[in-house]
């Protein structure tokens, strides 16, 4: 496969020049300076690197950039609209659903994806749907509360 020269990120086409085998995470962070997408483990275990690819939560550390050329990629930097924060972002603030905040961008995008496929998840469905995300500060119950709040407010954004 040839080099990847374009990537559709956060609503605009970005010019890049990347080996298709590179990770999407590295291209976002190191080529496009979209550092809101975090490196946590590099083995798909923590989901700090979560982005949305065509609306679906995807671990960018395990995704080769060559496989997402032509797809719509949304990072945390592109989530808030012109009207302000996305309802899930606002719910995370309302519920104080963070401590160090390093897992937060991935958590938020994971939550957006979850609500996209299940607008009113039960507590068990939240736990199952978000179980791939690690928060070492232990804010899980608050993240779950934020997802419930966003769901109540119709937070699909």
């Amino acid at each position: 496969m040839g080099r990847v020269t374009e990537l559709h990120v956060n609503g605009s086409m970005r010019r890049i020049d990347a080996d298709p085998d590179r990770t999407l995470l590295s291209v976002l962070r190191d080529d496009l300076d979209l550092t809101g997408t975090k490196f946590g483990c590099g083995e798909g275990q923590c989901a700090a690197c979560t982005v949305l690819v065509d609306g679906v939560a995807t671990r960018s550390c395990l995704t080769r950039v060559g496989t997402v050329a032509g797809k719509r990629i949304l990072t945390i930097e592109g989530l808030a609209g012109a009207g302000g924060l996305h309802p899930v972002q606002q719910a995370f603030l309302d519920q104080d659903a963070m401590q160090c905040g390093y897992c937060t961008p991935g958590m938020i995008l994971g939550a957006v994806s979850l609500l996209g496929r299940n607008p009113h998840p039960s507590d068990a469905e939240i736990a199952t749907g978000m179980n791939g995300h690690i928060c070492r500060c232990g804010t899980y119950p608050r993240v779950a509360a934020a997802i419930r709040e966003a769901a109540q407010k119709g937070g699909r954004g």
Partner: protein, 666 residues
């Protein structure tokens, strides 16, 4: 490096308050580190009100997720009578902030928080002085609130009062502070001050920092601890376009303009190593502790408990960017001790502390694991050798191998109880894990409590709560063993021996909220309680678990924690901290353990090292006891100590089996 004299040159005019170090802080530094400090020695915090009215407070403390940035902002807002959003907190920057020992030991709230309040209280008085002079008004008739001073019909923002001024005041630590019962901003749930930067991904952690022309470095580590480099063939790496190799003794690094190229260059290095014999492994380390302690206990009644080594696993691994310019070094890194890292770098390169500038962006957590400057040292060495800015981001595997661990330990305990439940004798020995909270908080007439230092086979260091977690686990498990020996209820047994009013208060609060007395036993379910004291604060935790009979798999269903740390600074952030500690503590209680053999960590990946996840969460409820009559104490650590013994005791209640190890795996 800013001195008091040129402070105004850097920040512009206005008023500045310098806070004198209190006696305790002077004792803590012992004068030793102060000698190397280029800041005015007596200063531990300072606060500036600019000519535009902007309020900036400077502290060497750092933000690692414990919300110190918010609580210190509240301290300033409270005493200065200024809005929270008018205040900027500059933290952990060795060129801008006064010297600080480090953000460790839950000291920000008991030490720095009152100092910030003193600085702000003094600035408030200065503003009132200025207004009284300017308006020729009776000072007693002035009112200050919401960032404005008013006198009758006259009103001015802070900037109107400080314009054209260059006032400095150094004040003793004894200035009067607003009583906790009068607080309007302190003691309330002010939201995280930089929360918006977190949820939008705008905040730059050390892992995210870049510099123009920067190279990415990778370091060649030995295949086992202690191995030394025998030979190196770097020809293949050096032949790669753009790659540079640095070789200095056993330190070998590669650098490249792109991270994946640096990775390939590292893989292209061919090295031979002289092996080092491993003294023990994770199975046999407990015997090793006892064997290698010089004054090991001999009482045959002692019961052994095992504490595994665990990793901090901060979600942001260690990271640093280093840049040299004209013999001066600037480093961006995530650390709990920016001044410690500064001194580490200055000593390594033989330069003065004033020639090293360490900048600490709010970091992706630490839990006691980011005290050293490992990544900063590596980045700075490579940057110096190659003459370019260098970034060194550790991988997860590096983080879980070459950082340091929470100490493992062997703890031996024995005790006796009278038929009425009074503990009459207590003997407790901790090998290697540490002396924190070694002393039982219960009233016991005859006691012997001893810490035995052992040379650890693994690099070890601080971890949230230090050894208080291990010591509470064993103490509170064994308290249950004693209660069981006389068939007494575990709550009643604790209350029989807890004489301190504050300890009794958390035990009663937790057990009431939990419904301890009305608990109903069902098959394979159990209930446990534990209590303790450390670093000035009190905690009690109750847990309900279910245990699958065949596998022994334990699920924590419910946890109730009562916590008391004096006057509460920020209720919502305290609740977050307390409940988060319970969530994190479940990992050390049930799953987390570092496995090692042959001088290697054998489970240094998240796929092999299980940490708590959503599905592991019980319902967590907290009771916060607000003691406005007691000074505010730190809360980042002590809430973690009760959950492991509460779970262990609940497992015993469910199964009749006492598991004497952490993690609680039979």
């Amino acid at each position: 490096m800013i001195t008091r004299r040129d402070f105004f040159a850097a920040v512009g005019g206005g008023i500045v308050v310098l806070i004198a170090e209190d006696d305790l802080l002077a004792q803590e530094t012992g004068g030793r580190l102060r000698g190397r400090n280029t800041m005015p020695e007596e200063v531990s915090a300072w606060l500036h009100v600019g000519e535009d009215g902007a309020v900036t407070a400077y502290t060497g403390k750092v933000e690692v997720g414990q919300n110190a940035r918010t609580s210190l902002t509240q301290a300033v807002a409270e005493e200065l009578r200024a809005p929270v959003d008018a205040i900027t907190m500059v933290m952990g920057d060795t060129a801008l902030t006064p010297f600080d020992q480090g953000t460790v030991g839950s000291q920000t709230t008991p030490r720095m928080w009152p100092q910030m309040r003193r600085a702000a209280a003094e600035a408030r008085e200065m503003l009132l002085d200025l207004a009284a002079k300017k308006w020729n008004a009776d000072r007693a008739a002035l009112h200050i609130a919401g960032g404005r001073v008013t006198a009758g019909a006259r009103s001015a923002g802070f900037g109107e009062l400080t314009r054209g001024e260059k006032l400095t005041r150094t004040i003793p630590a004894s200035v009067a502070l607003t009583a906790a019962v009068e607080w309007k901003v302190a003691g309330t749930s002010v939201p995280k001050v930089n929360g918006r930067a977190i949820v939008t991904g705008a905040h730059k952690y050390a892992y995210d920092v870049t510099r123009p022309g920067m190279l990415w470095a990778k370091v060649l580590y030995p295949p086992q601890f202690g191995a030394s480099l025998k030979s190196l063939d770097a020809a293949a790496a050096e032949a790669m376009a753009g790659v540079k190799v640095m070789h200095d003794g056993d330190f070998v690094a590669v650098a490249a303009p792109a991270p994946d190229l640096a990775e390939r260059a590292l893989a292209a290095l061919r090295a031979e190593w002289n092996p080092a014999p491993a003294e023990t492994d994770s199975r046999n380390v407990y015997d090793y502790f006892k064997r290698n302690a010089r004054d090991a206990a001999a009482n045959p009644a002692l019961v052994p408990y095992h504490i595994a080594y665990i990793a901090h696993v901060p979600l942001e691994p260690r990271a640093a960017v280093a840049e040299w310019q004209d013999g001066k070094l600037t480093v961006w890194t995530g650390t709990q001790r920016p001044f410690g890292v500064r001194d580490e770098l200055a000593a390594l390169f033989g330069i003065g502390g004033e020639d090293v500038h360490v900048i600490m962006p709010d970091t992706g957590s630490g839990y006691g694991g980011k005290h050293q400057g490992d990544a900063a040292v590596e980045a700075a060495r490579v940057a110096k050798a190659l003459g370019k800015p260098v970034k060194r981001n550790w991988t997860r595997q590096e983080e879980m191998t070459w950082a340091y661990f929470r100490p493992g330990g062997l703890i031996e305990v024995a005790g006796k109880t009278a038929p009425d439940g009074t503990v009459t004798e207590w003997e407790f020995h901790n090998y290697n894990s540490g002396p924190s909270a070694l002393a039982s908080p219960y009233a016991i007439a005859s006691r012997k409590e001893q810490f035995h230092a052992v040379r650890s086979p693994l690099r070890q260091g601080s971890y949230r709560g230090l050894a208080a977690t291990a010591n509470h686990f064993v103490r509170e498990s064994y308290m249950d063993e004693l209660a069981q020996s006389i068939a007494m209820d575990p709550l009643e047994f604790r209350l029989r021996n807890a004489k301190e009013e504050r300890l009794r208060a958390v035990i009663l609060a937790a057990s009431d909220k939990f419904g301890w007395k009305g608990r109903r036993k069902t098959a394979n379910h159990g209930f446990g309680i534990a209590a303790g004291f450390e670093k000035g604060s009190y905690v009690a935790t109750c847990a309900e678990v279910s245990v699958e009979p065949a596998s022994g798999a334990t699920k924590v269903l419910r946890a109730v924690i009562a916590f008391e740390c004096g006057a509460i600074v920020n209720p919502e952030h305290l609740r977050n901290q307390v409940e988060g500690a319970v969530a994190q503590g479940i990992g050390g209680a049930l799953f987390e353990q570092i496995e090692f053999a042959g001088g290697k960590i054998t489970n240094n990946r998240l796929a092999r090292y299980r940490v708590p996840r959503f599905a592991d969460m019980p319902a967590i409820e907290s009771v916060l006891l607000d003691r406005k009559d007691i000074v505010s104490i730190g809360a980042g650590e002590t809430p973690i100590v009760g959950i492991a013994p509460a779970i262990g005791n609940a497992i015993f209640d469910a199964t009749g089996k006492r598991i004497r190890r952490m993690p609680l795996q039979a």
